[in-house]
């Protein structure tokens, strides 16, 4: 079974984010990057499937030269090979999806896993665009999977409940937290990851469909108001909640 896992390199959740001097992108100096947490569930699922059915897991990422460290991570956890589509320019979701699609159309995986979203831009677009380009069935935000022959039963989160889909392989799954418990890389495997192959492919130049015009940090100022405990004060709080905060 050939399994493709798309992974993405994102700033660590605990990193302090600053906007760069051009005002259009984050300042990447001193930012710690990690494997996108949702991709960890995708990777874990891919490795479990391989351990059960045999075959191989290929991890793919689209990103700058520095993104190679997350591929080593994926290899240490259990991916067999990795593909690095190199691009130093800023790109949008369509570009990422089209690059993965190009590789997938040659590799012809039985199943493609990825996180439901990358926690940097939070666009949630790559799985859908990929599904459209490759014309493959897609289940997003999946929390549970069952495999029967070449059919995949996917349980996904919907507003206030669950939905169960049945898909035929080849198909695409985007993983949600809860799908599994990602493993830690074992020390011998960290050492072995060094020897596993990473195929490097130069991405073509690309005109983004979407242009980032500006980026700014959320305002941190809070308007604290302190009122007393008389009946008048309580009336004032109700008014503020109703008229100012528009909570009800």
């Amino acid at each position: 079974m050939n399994i493709l896992v798309a992974v993405s390199r994102v700033p660590d959740t605990t990193t302090k984010i600053l906007v760069g001097s051009d005002g259009k992108f984050i300042d990447t100096n001193n930012v710690k990057f990690i494997l996108n947490p949702y991709d960890e569930y995708a990777l874990e699922e891919a490795i479990r499937l391989k351990e059960k059915n045999g075959g191989k897991v290929i991890a793919i990422t689209v990103g700058p030269a520095t993104a190679q460290d997350i591929l080593r991570n994926a290899l240490a956890v259990g991916a067999d090979e990795a593909v690095h589509i190199k691009s130093e320019q800023n790109f949008d979701s369509f570009f990422v999806a089209s690059q993965i699609a190009e590789y997938a159309s040659k590799m012809k995986p039985d199943i493609i896993f990825m996180g439901k979203q990358s926690i940097d831009f939070d666009s949630l677009q790559v799985p859908s665009i990929l599904s459209d380009i490759l014309d493959l069935p897609l289940a997003t935000i999946v929390t549970k999977l069952n495999y029967e022959g070449n059919m995949v039963k996917a349980e996904r989160e919907i507003e206030g409940g669950k939905e169960v889909l049945s898909l035929q392989m080849p198909c695409i799954i985007s993983a949600q937290k809860g799908l599994n418990e990602p493993r830690y890389p074992k020390l011998p495997d960290i050492m072995k990851a060094k020897k596993k192959p990473i195929e490097e492919i130069d991405a073509p130049n690309y005109e983004n469909n979407i242009e980032i015009i500006g980026m700014e940090l959320p305002s941190r100022s809070r308007l604290n108001k302190i009122v007393g405990d008389t009946d008048e004060d309580i009336k004032e709080i109700v008014r503020m909640l109703h008229e100012d905060a528009k909570i009800f």
Partner: protein, 382 residues
Amino acid sequence: MFELTFTEEQQMLREMVRDFTTNELKPLAAQIDEKEAIPDHIIKKIAELGIFGAAFPVEYGGSGFGEIGYCIIQEEISKGCMSTATMIGAHASIGSNSIYLGGSEELKQRFMPALAAGEKIAAFGLTEQGAGSDAFNLKTHAEQDGDYWVINGEKQWITNGPIADVVAVYARTKKGITAFVVEKGMEGFSAGAPEKKMGIRGSKTSTLKFENVRVPKENMIGKEGYGFPIAMKVLNAGRLGLGAACLGSMKELLALSTEYAKNRYQFDEPIANFQAVQFMLSEIAVMIYNLESIVYRTATLYDLGKMTQAQAGMVKFYASESIDRTVDLSMQIFAGMGYSREMPIERFYRDARINRIFEGTNEIQKIVIAKDILRHKGSIFF
């Protein structure tokens, strides 16, 4: 150019052990202290992840991370639980290392793979009632009887004693001190009840008794009479690892103290605004910077086969004195809350103190360092 950077693999090792400590170990640290036991599933997980064998070469079942890797592990584990770091240290750094550093190829092939995999747990048996700082004065003795050596005597303060499958035992023979591998189940070999300790309570420490224990001659570590140099070599590694463990706990204490100082209000402002508190944080940071520098500089020398006994002694001495100062300052910042068992500060406080005592007291370290200074006419640095 002198630069301290870690390889990609070393960084991945650190990330992994840090995640494991944060997610699995830290939440259990108070329980480990309270119940005086590390849960079996934690030890199993440490084994599965390859942590026990990290430092050893691949041909002996390890991962080849060397002493630098081992120090990274000790550092990260000690951020969560010094009991667990002690258990790992007694197993890997002094127990298994006795065989790895002193044993024949055949002996290493026999024991190392299971020890590296954590299928068997090791301990280091040197100390006795009358042989602490004066380790050479040990009384446990072994006499040859055909293809066997018969060991009699008693060891004390043996970390992992009650749980060890394999013990490196140092005993007196005709030609001096000789090391042997004693295995659990050998007749006449028994462990006492775990000691009731002030700190590192999750690690099990006990006496070991040897009553006519017949050990096959193949279990001798190295040659007869060469045990003491092996023990000293092993302890040098142990002292360096101890430094790394102190470093980890100190980093955790700085993080905890900083967070607390920023959130604890007195006189209508965070206590972090007061110089008295800032100076304490600065003092801790200076010690961490110093210790981090010497731990990894010395670990690099160890891996190159160039570390001296004095260098290991300096790391051990500085680390244990610094952690004691650090826990004291942290306790002062946390004040009443630090004294309460609700917070981990008092546990770090109790766990820290042993570092000035075990692996050779700090007074012994000073003697070792002074010997080196005098031998080299005061010139032991660049």
